[in-house]
Structure formats: structure tokens, C-alpha cells
């Protein structure tokens, strides 16, 4: 309908104006595309420029008094620890939930189950943080006490456990809940794309449901699962609020059930509002480090997707 409506216009209009419209429009859209480069380049450039004073400053003026490297590496480690706890929890559960939606749930409800998982993704991070600090952390205290009593000989469970529950472990659990929908929704999409042909091939050989999933669904979905986990890792590394609200931060320690440790993102959020001068550029430098880490993780994820795209397309 709109085709015919617009078809009459060029006839009545000056064709030179139409040609100009063409080049203006393509120029505009090209400019928008190039703006994306500009923005990313600007992100890197401005962070770098503002961070420079940190690298030039004498070591004893940096927080901690021993230079930028000794300031940042406990934060990097803390960021990684929180993200790894989150991944260890969220990956198996996320994949199993995706399987539930794609292959186990009755057809009538599987769609609504998908919506429910999407709701998990829609809840703002500050609310997860508030919930983690007020509901989850106290609820985990008895569990931490038990861990400290019975598994305290393992350094990561060394007691005495925090009595507020505001620990690295709690932060990891909250992060796990936040990244679960990423893993689930991406994996679910790939699971449902498994060719019916291959599923039927397995079933016709007398495979049980799980054997069918192992023979045809998982091999097909493996690259997708890996990249969804990498993307979730990127999200967990950069997530701020859950950690800022849930973790009672402090110097780096091995135990995950005591107060202590800190992540880059939370360090920035907690200190930036009051920072000025060198402290400001220190925090921006920390942000730059975080940017680079997530950049590498995301690039690996994208590379995996790109490499397997051709492969799965061939089948």
C-alpha cells in the first residue's frame, strides 16, 4: 500500500531533488555508522588522557603508596574472583534452564517460562544489590558459619565467617543471578534452532531424551554456549551495583566468606563522587583497565561466534 503511495511522488517531484535526497540520506547513515567508531575511539582516548597523570605520578602519591600496579592488581583479582564465582554458579543452572525451556517444559508453558527468565534480566541492578544486601546476605550467614566450621581448613572458607553475610561469596551469588538470563536466553535460542532432522535421527535410534540432547543438541549448540558464557563473563566483570551494595569491601584476603576484597567497578562507584585531582585520574585509570579486560573477553566471545557461524551454516 505504501509502495503505490510513494510511487506517485517521484513522478511529480523534481528528480534532482530526489537524487540529492538519496545522497544526503546515504551520507547521513554513513556518518552515523562512523560516529560509532568515533565514540569508541573517544572512550579509549579520553580515559587514557585522564588516566595519564596516574602513570606519571610518583609511586608514593598513589593510594596505598606503592604505585599504580600494587593498587590495581588486588582489584583486578577481586573482579575476577567475583566473576568466576558467578560463572561457576550461573553456567550449569543457566544451561539447564535453557534446556528446560527448549526440550523439557510442556509446549504450553515453555513460552511463558521464557518470559519469566527475561523478567530476571529486566530487573535493575540496583534492586538486585538492595535485595542481596538485605535479604540474601543475612540468609547465607548460617551457611557461611557451617562452611567455616566444617571446611575452614580450605583457605577460601577460612573463618570466622562474616556475621552480616556481606562477603565476596554473596556478591558472586547476586552476580550469578544477574548473568543467568544472558546464558539462558542465548543458549535457549540455539537449542531451539537445532535441526529437527538431527533430533529425530537420534530418537529413531532409540535414544532417550538426554541421549538425544547429548548426540544432537549439545554438539550443535556448543559454540553458542561458549560465547554466551563469555558474554556473561563480560557482564559480570563490569557489573557495579551488585558488588557495591552487597560487598563489605576491604583489603584482599583469600577467604570468600569474610568481609574484604573489592572489584574495580565497585571501587570506582564508591570513591568517584568524592574524588578529585590525582585520585580522580587513578579511578579513571582503573576504569581503563576494566575496559581493556572486558574488551578482551568480549572479543574472544565474538571471535568464537564468528568462527563457528560458517561451520554451522554449512550444515
Amino acid at each position: 500500500m505504501s509502495t503505490t503511495a510513494s510511487a506517485q511522488k517521484p513522478g511529480t517531484k523534481n528528480s534532482a531533488a530526489g537524487r540529492a535526497g538519496d545522497s544526503i540520506f546515504s551520507g547521513l547513515s554513513l556518518a552515523a555508522g562512523i560516529l560509532i567508531f568515533a565514540v569508541l575511539a573517544a572512550v579509549a582516548l579520553f580515559l587514557l588522557l585522564q588516566a595519564l597523570p596516574t602513570f606519571a605520578a610518583p609511586a608514593d602519591e598513589i593510594t596505598g603508596g606503592e604505585g599504580f600496579f600494587s593498587y590495581i592488581w588486588p582489584l583486578v583479582l577481586g573482579t575476577l574472583i567475583a566473576a568466576i564465582i558467578a560463572l561457576l554458579i550461573a553456567t550449569p543452572i543457566g544451561i539447564l534452564v535453557a534446556l528446560y525451556i527448549s526440550h523439557y517444559a510442556p509446549a504450553r508453558i515453555s513460552k511463558s517460562v521464557g518470559y519469566v527468565i527475561d523478567l530476571l534480566a529486566a530487573i535493575p541492578s540496583v534492586i538486585y544489590g538492595a535485595w542481596g544486601a538485605t535479604v540474601l546476605a543475612p540468609a547465607l550467614v548460617p551457611f557461611y558459619n557451617w562452611l567455616a566450621e566444617n571446611l575452614g581448613f580450605i583457605p577460601i572458607f577460612a573463618g570466622p565467617a562474616s556475621q552480616t553475610g556481606k562477603t565476596m561469596m554473596t556478591a558472586g551469588v547476586v552476580l550469578a543471578i544477574m548473568i543467568l538470563p544472558i546464558i539462558t536466553s542465548m543458549s535457549r535460542e540455539i537449542f531451539t534452532q537445532t535441526p529437527k532432522l538431527h533430533e529425530e535421527a537420534a530418537l529413531a535410534l532409540g535414544a532417550t531424551r538426554w541421549e538425544m540432547i547429548r548426540m544432537s543438541v549439545l554438539p550443535f549448540a556448543r559454540p553458542g554456549i561458549i560465547s554466551s558464557v563469555m558474554l556473561a563473563l563480560g557482564r559480570a566483570l563490569g557489573e557495579t551495583m551488585a558488588v557495591a551494595l552487597v560487598l563489605s569491601s576491604g583489603p584482599m584476603i583469600a577467604s570468600l566468606i569474610k568481609s574484604g576484597n573489592q572489584t574495580i567497578a565497585a571501587e570506582i562507584a564508591l570513591n568517584f563522587p568524592e574524588a578529585y585531582g590525582l585520585r580522580l585520574s587513578e579511578l579513571i585509570a582503573a576504569g581503563l583497565v576494566l575496559f581493556l579486560i572486558t574488551l578482551v573477553v568480549n572479543m574472544i566471545a565474538r571471535a568464537i561466534i564468528a568462527r563457528y557461524k560458517e561451520f554451522s551454516g554449512a550444515n
Partner: protein
């Protein structure tokens, strides 16, 4: 030639085997009841409570069930049932936090949902007033300024990111012809998707800090930060929507002598508009809940400020954050927590409404032609 066969690993199944060796129907309910009883017993050993009861019952069920089924029907059926139970367990585990979060927000938020909260700001509210508040209704001060901040910052972010995002997607689908530039843009959009929100905030802060002097914090700086987060979402979604517009429609339009830009504006975009609009709505729903970039860009205000270009601003997420982290009255944080949860309820309601709206748009305006 006839099929030469080696000795099969298992002899072919005899007639009677069709139903032989099956578990009785009552087995799983019985294991379930047994697991609940045994779980209660173990839980009682270490000091009974509901959480440990549930955990032990689930563990007993997950271990005993598959083992018994495996013993009766063979290891294949055992592992199949183990996986089935695990999948259902995982689903329950995923839903528990969702229910808990929503319950917490409702239970703590509804008492604080007063007219004060919706219609007044925190201007002039002091700890002394909070110390006098006894019932939930006595609490003064509200989130009106935060709602104002949320609306204006989101407005500016949308105003900047939607045109850029739309045009970029149009370039990718209609003009790039899979050239190197298109691929590069796609790649950088993917990279942008992964930028941590706090880094986007730092970028905006650094940018304006260099131009207007350090510690420049206004609503507009925050809007720039949110724009960085919003653009990739808009591009990705719009691109996907434009790609499902059938090529036949474009060709039909070209064949009528319509110029490319008019084809895009009059044929392609109208066909995809519902998908694009619902994608933009979802993108708004995502950035409206962002907290971290606002902490470093918008500052923190207690008074109403409609002007995004001057003065500090508060949004609902930062309002929640500061009410929890730095209560107005440090000795009596309850009124602050009450305001925080009520604001959280408003925020969740807005986000859910936007999500619902996105689905409605996608459904109501779905073009009949897109299905080919």
C-alpha cells in the same frame, strides 16, 4: 548380497521385553515422600529449619531417584532421569530469586508508597525529621525529584541514541553491501555492547571534565553516558528488524522507479516499525535502571531540577542507592530504607510497564506482510 552381521553387543530384545523391567508407576512419588521424610530427619540432626529441610530432601531425591531407576531400568534410564530431575531443579533454583526479589520489593515498598513519596522531593528533609517518624505514614520526603531526573535524563539519552542507532542500522542493512566498513561497524557495535556501564559513565565524565573543567556533573553528562550504552542495543535490534523485511518489497518499489531513500523511508521502515519501536522501548527499559554511570556523572541532588544542562540531578536508581548507603538519619535508617524500597517499587513498575508496552507494540502493529 545379504547383510553379514557380527555378534551384536546385546541380543535383540525378546517379545516379552517390551514392558519388562519397567519401574512401577508409584516409584517416583514414593521416592519423593521418602526424600522429604529423610530430609527432615537429617535436617533435624543439625538443627531443623525449612531451608536445610528443602535442601536435604532435594539432595536425597536427586541421588536416590536416579540410582533406583538405574537399578531397575538400566543405567541409560538412570542417567536420563537424573538429567530430567536436574533440569527441573535448575529451573526452580532460577525462579526462587525472582520470586524473592519481587516479594521483597512489594512487601517493603508498598507501605512507603505515600503521596509524600510521589509528590515531594528530599529538599530540606533532615535526619531530625526521620528520627521523629514512627509510623510509615509519618515519613516525610520523597522521590519526586528522582522521577523528574529519570524522565529528563532518559529523554535526552533516547533523543540522542535513537537517530544515531537507526541511521547506523540503516547503513548496515541498506548501504554497506557487506563491505569492510559494514563489518567493522558491526564489530565495533558488538564491542560497545560489552562496555561496562561504569566505564561509559567514566567516559562521559572524562569528556565533559576535559571540556568544561573537572567535576562537571549535570543530567546531560549522564545522558551522554546512557547514550553510549543505548546505541548498540538500538542498532542491533533495528538491524535485525530491517533484515527480516523481505527483499521483494524493496525490489517492487525500485521497479516502480522509487528512489532508494524514499523506498527506505516509505516501504522498509513502515514494514519494520513495530519491531523497531518495541526494540527502542526495551532499550529505554534497560537504561532507565542504570545506576553506576549516573553515580559518576549526574552527582546527587535533593531538590527538583528540570534542567539537564545545569546542576546536579538524581534518578530513581541513584536515589535508591544513596538512601541505602547513606541514610538521611544515620541513627535511624528505617525511614530512608522505606523510601528506598518504595522508589524501587516505582522503578520496577516502570521497567515492567515498558517491557509490557514493548510486547504490546510488537503484537499490535505487527505487519501482516512480514510473514512472506
Amino acid at each position: 548380497m545379504s547383510t553379514t552381521t557380527t555378534k551384536p553387543g546385546t541380543s535383540p530384545v525378546r517379545e516379552s521385553r517390551l514392558t519388562r523391567g519397567q519401574r512401577p508407576k508409584w516409584l517416583i512419588p514414593v521416592i519423593g515422600v521418602g526424600a522429604i521424610v529423610v530430609g527432615a530427619a537429617i535436617s533435624a540432626l543439625i538443627g531443623f529449619n525449612i531451608a536445610t529441610w528443602a535442601i536435604f530432601a532435594a539432595l536425597v531425591f536427586l541421588i536416590v531417584g536416579p540410582l533406583l531407576i538405574g537399578a531397575i531400568e538400566g543405567s541409560r534410564a538412570g542417567s536420563d532421569s537424573l538429567m530430567t530431575f536436574l533440569v527441573y531443579t535448575a529451573f526452580i533454583l532460577a525462579v526462587i530469586p525472582l520470586i524473592s526479589v519481587i516479594y521483597t520489593v512489594l512487601a517493603n515498598g508498598i507501605p512507603g508508597l505515600t503521596s509524600n513519596l510521589l509528590l515531594t522531593s528530599m529538599n530540606g528533609v533532615t535526619g531530625a525529621q526521620d528520627n521523629f517518624a514512627e509510623a510509615p505514614g509519618d515519613v516525610v520526603g520523597g522521590a519526586y525529584h528522582a522521577i523528574v531526573g529519570t524522565v529528563s535524563i532518559t529523554f535526552w539519552a533516547t533523543l540522542m541514541s535513537v537517530p544515531i542507532g537507526l541511521l547506523t542500522a540503516i547503513y548496515l542493512v541498506e548501504y554497506s553491501n557487506n563491505g569492510w566498513l559494514g563489518k567493522a561497524i558491526t564489530f565495533f557495535v558488538d564491542v560497545m555492547t560489552g562496555v561496562p556501564s561504569i566505564v561509559a559513565g567514566l567516559f562521559a565524565a572524562a569528556l565533559f571534565g576535559m571540556i568544561f573543567g573537572p567535576s562537571t556533573r549535570t543530567g546531560f553528562v549522564a545522558a551522554v553516558a546512557l547514550t553510549v550504552l543505548m546505541i548498540p542495543t538500538v542498532v542491533k535490534n533495528t538491524e535485525e528488524m530491517l533484515r527480516i523485511v523481505p527483499n521483494e518489497l524493496r525490489e517492487a518499489s525500485y521497479a516502480l522507479g522509487v528512489r532508494k531513500w524514499r523506498t527506505i523511508l516509505k516501504v522498509v521502515i513502515p514494514t519494520a516499525i513495530s519491531g523497531i519501536a518495541s526494540g527502542v522501548t526495551l532499550a529505554i527499559a534497560r537504561v532507565i535502571g542504570e545506576t553506576a554511570p549516573l553515580l559518576v556523572t549526574a552527582g546527587f541532588a535533593t531538590a527538583i531540577n528540570w534542567n539537564s544542562f545545569s546542576g546536579w540531578m538524581t534518578t530513581l536508581p541513584t536515589y535508591i542507592y544513596y538512601q541505602i548507603m547513606t541514610p538521611t538519619s544515620p541513627t535511624n535508617p528505617d525511614p530512608s530504607l522505606q523510601r528506598a524500597w518504595a522508589a524501587a517499587l516505582i522503578l520496577i513498575a516502570i521497567v515492567m510497564l515498558l517491557n509490557l508496552l514493548a510486547r504490546l507494540i510488537a503484537k499490535a502493529f505487527a505487519p501482516k506482510t512480514a510473514g512472506r
